[in-house]
Amino acid sequence: MSTSPAPLASPDEMRDMFRTMTLIRRFEEKASEEYMAGRIGGFLHLAIGEEAAIVGTVSALRPDDPLTSTYREHGQALARGSDPRAIMAELLGRATGICGGRGGSMHLMDLGRSFYGGYGIVGGAVPLAVGLAWAAKYRGGDQVAVTMFGEGAANQGVVSECFNMAGLWDLPIVFLILNNQYGMGTPVERAAAVDDFFPRAAAYDIESWKVDGMDVLGVRAAVSEAARLAREDGRPACVELLAYRYKGHSMSDPDTVRSSEEKERWQARDPLVTFERVLLGEGIMGADDIAAMRTEVQQVVDDAAAYAEQGPEVPVAELARNVYAQPWNDDPRGSALVRP
């Protein structure tokens, strides 16, 4: 088993974290372009503004800690090290996509990196993570399951059920509430009786606290402590990260609800800008290093888009492939309801 990452990141780790945050930002911008060009269909939910929350969290985990996310999950996949080409190809619905074009933007998964997927029903993936934690404990493993969901999901009943089961059964899980303050267009104050969410977990005897989700190092330290509790003490934990998404809920949201003053106030605390200041101030990266990193990341993203655009479509003959893991006849589609 690999060792857990330390709460305090090393200079190398900080450089990696900054690169991943930059990769997420650039990837999302490129995805936005691809959507505007009509090459991405359906919903496209961008995580711009949430890079510190995502990277701080993932950097605090072991690579074999199972992770689930919502439909806003490109960043989680990238942070876990999934191939940007395969992610972009999935967004474009190509056979070369990470899920063979079956999932799209909302349903990325990379099982080899213990990324157990993005899910589209708000709150619906949280019990899956409880099950992943259950399985780790059942087998005597020391993995910690982590489930990232929004403050909107915290209002779903099943999430409270999960807090209860995890607290009751001492499951090794970290509930990560990414509070970006809006459920689509509805602000927290119009959706929740109490505008802090971590006390809900505390009500189930789960150690929980709230930290600034725009500060990547603070997020990492908090999630490290939460993961330590889960791994060493066998107790669930909950971290609420206060953050802000810069774009609308999805590409189809013109984002007219939120005031420009509010957006500017949060963007003044941009997680990439503030972390860059830290890196420069502490001499961990120089301006030249950062410029070179940005160029390299942009190349990765441009390459991913080019790769995706050139990817073949999924053959229609494979429409029904994988409906079942164990199909009952030799039909190559694997799912025919009726035996031929």
Binding site: H107, M109, G117, Y119, G124, P127, L128, V158, Y324
Partner: protein, 333 residues
């Protein structure tokens, strides 16, 4: 001395399957409300807690969506959970987990991870449990690609199909009947698995094919006795699984008898009987001598009053009447 195999109840047949599969494979565990210390609401899991311990026989809070979702996650991690939902009525609370997660995860993530789990639950009416506790929801589950749907009628099938379900790599909805738990019959041994997608002829006959599943098999067989007294021989066929469906066996019978009645304890609209009738029209329209008749529950929420409840549930005389209608005969008074 009788050499006939010992008869066991449908309940104990299920218990045998669970015990044998748990002994065979450590990744199998049971989870549900009151299945451990209480031995299960219907005593299907009797004794298993004592035998396998609290790690593998898990009493849950009343939290169907939560523990069904937990089972899905555990299955994704490679365990083989057998989730007991106390009755099918409570599955409605867990429907998002079953439909949005269990049925879709293998497909929508490009086949990366299977969901090898069983969700067991009894359903059906007949005990004056009224509107919210008397559902037959086969049609709802069968509607969903990605699920397998199993509906055993006998102790032998209950055991053999449950063993198959536990070893299957897909999410299996295993629908038991509250009215059958005490039904006795022979059962197979440890290695007798019954494959999915194989219908069985419960009673051969030449005059009309009657398709029935779960408890309705016994209603159809009772009707068959009444009809036989009048010289009418129906062929009773039990599909045993709706996903996969053995249409071959159903259609071959209908092609031979030229008449069909489909019996289903669920509601008529877009129901199991409607779906099977549509398949049979596609497969053997030219061979039919009469329209296919459906026998369903009345199209009402289940009433409490005994007489109303009995009127709402398919009875042998309803099957007799439907068969007579396909034969263009009057029902004898």
């Amino acid at each position: 001395m009788s050499t006939a195999p010992a008869e066991v109840t449908y309940r104990d047949a299920l218990n045998q399957a669970l015990r044998e599969e748990m002994a065979r494979d450590e990744s199998v565990f049971l989870m549900g409300e009151d299945i451990g210390h209480f031995d299960g609401a219907f005593k299907v899991t009797r004794g298993l807690l004592k035998e396998f311990g609290e790690q593998r026989v898990v009493d849950t809070p009343i939290t169907e969506a939560g523990f069904t979702g937990l089972g899905i996650g555990a299955a994704m991690a490679g365990l083989r959970p057998v989730i007991e939902i106390m009755t099918v009525n409570f599955a409605l609370v867990a429907m998002d987990q079953i439909v949005s997660n269990a049925s879709k995860i293998h497909y929508m993530f490009g086949g990366q991870v299977p969901v090898p789990m069983v969700i067991r639950m009894p359903g059906g009416a007949g005990h004056q449990l009224s509107a919210q506790h008397s559902h037959s929801l086969e049609a709802m589950f069968t509607h969903v690609p990605g699920l397998k749907v199993v509906v055993p009628a006998t102790p032998e099938d209950a055991k053999g199909l449950l063993k198959t379900a536990i070893r299957d790599d897909d999410p299996v909805i295993f629908l038991e009947s509250e009215g059958l738990y005490g039904k006795k019959g022979p059962v197979g041994g440890e290695d007798d698995l019954i494959p999915f997608g194989q219908a069985v002829v419960r009673r051969p006959g030449r005059d009309c094919t009657v398709i029935a599943h779960s408890r309705m098999v016994w209603v159809a067989l009772a009707a068959a006795e009444q009809l036989a007294a009048q010289g009418i021989e129906i062929e009773v066929i039990d599909p045993r699984t709706f996903r996969p469906l053995d249409l071959d066996t159903l259609a071959a019978s209908v092609a031979r008898t030229s008449r069909a009645v489909v019996v289903d304890e669920g509601w008529p609209e877009c129901g199991i009987a409607a779906g099977l009738a549509a398949h049979l029209y596609d497969a053997c329209f030219d061979m039919l001598d009469a329209p296919i008749r459906r026998v369903n529950a009345a199209d009402v929420p289940m009433p409490y009053a005994k007489n109303l409840e009995q009127a709402a549930i398919p009875q042998p005389h309803d099957v007799v009447a439907a068969v007579m209608a396909t034969l263009a005969r009057e029902v004898p008074r």
